[in-house]
Amino acid sequence: MTSSPLRTALRSIVPTRNPIEAPPKPLASPAVVAPLESVATLGRRTAPPEDLALPEARLASLALHDVSKVYPNGKRALADVDLIVPEGDFVFLVGPSGAGKSTLIKLLIRDELPTTGSVFVAGQDVSHLRRRHVPRLRRQIGIVFQDFKLLPRKTVRENVAFALEVTGTPRRMIRSRVDSALALVGLSAQARQLPTTLSGGEMQRTAIARAMVHDPRVIIADEPTGNLDPLISWEIIQLLLRINDLGTTVLMASHNAEVVTALRKRVVALEEGRIIRDEVGGYHREY
């Protein structure tokens, strides 16, 4: 297989989503976001939601408004966080341990709910999403972790197919989707191996294939290179960049100063739960 038919194959699955899922919502346009915002904040906030009038907000893939998160034990993990990530962007999220990176990611995938403020993912108000609609949201987000979270007794192919099986994808569609996801990450040859026989980089690529198999709008990666050596880390970054090139928004939390500095992408720095810096082409201070 060469890469060009693959790309066209991938492109071709982009518009045709799984028919049993809800039809994809249009990209967050002002018409969609504005009513959501006004309903969500009705009578709760005095400040007008003018941040959404910013040009970037029209294509916002991820957006946080005045978000704070206080855990039940009293720990304040995030305070007054405002962040807009336009569709198709590649954003690094940096900061020392405990700065709130993981909390921010948990809010985006609705693993936690914000104490105050609103969180939008692909035009949906995540913080007011009904519980039964959470699975649908998660299918629009590909999530990648530092510890890969692969099932050790399933092969590479089965691990990727698992994400489709458990969301009720018809069997006949699974095969081709898994094939393209594996081809995308370059693991077609290793499809039948168990994760234990793979290198760290291959394991992470399997996890990325699993994240991509739903054809998500956003990839959220929490320290995806944290367990990998520098060379392999670069491979993973290159892969995420390619996925970004194909049109998927990527938000990547990272400690890897070298990578973040070298890439000259937008860098959002968190410290003690607040955004202390947000620079396009920004640089990453050594923590």
């Binding site: 649908r136 699993r210 739903h214």
Partner: protein, 296 residues
Amino acid sequence: MISFLAFSFKRALEGFWRNKVMSLAATVTMILMLILISGLVIVLTGLEAGLRFVEEKVEVQAFLNDGVSAEAVNGLVADVEALPEVASVSYTSKEAGLNAFREQLAAQGKEDLTAVTGVNPIPASLNVKVKDPGVYGDVVKTLEAPRGVVDEVLETQRTADAIVNLSGVLRTIGLVIVVMVGLTVLFIVINTIRMAVMARADEIEIMRLVGASDAFIRWPFIIEGLFVGLLGGAITLGLLSLAGDPIHQVTAQITGELPIGFNEQLTQQLLAAVLGLGVVVGGIGAWISVRTYLIR
């Protein structure tokens, strides 16, 4: 829908086989619970049958004087039968009484001395069964009313009361024990299933992260729980049927002449109870265990 069912069943079996130790633990706990409970049911059914038998034995016995005319006896029988609390009245002649006494001696292995006396020492008697062993009403008074007919009325009222009281207490104790053992065992089984689910917390987490709906996460585990229950129930029934004959013999020896049988009905009830309980406990146990991972 079909693909959902196929998926759930496939995952349930996969889960059962891939976590053999936990599945085995859950199944064995289930079997032990079912054996314990069916044992209790058997014992209590025996107890209940025994109590009913003893209660039925409660009767008012009136010994008649020798040489009383048949009319007098018939008149007395009619009077007693007319009482609302009386179920039946039966007349036992001197000869029948003697025969019964001899049989009893023979059964106990004692020497029969009645042949030596030459005369029949056993009086004729009227045996009155009351409908409710606790309610005697005017039975004794009516029996003693005609002069010279009844020699003595056996005072069984106190005995009967004691037996009724005792059987009531025994029934209550039995019920309390069943409930207590049942609850204990239920929690143990649920806990074991919970451990089996916990062993796969990673899998559940991944399912949630990739956007599996609650039904897709929950049902494979519930089906697995049902399967554990069904398997446990089937094995328990197998063991019980193997143990059935020896148990029968032992109980027959203990209860002796008491007509405590393990009839068809009890077998069917036990079959339904064992399978039903296994499946219900397995299903509910899995439901509760998975719930913890779904609620957010």
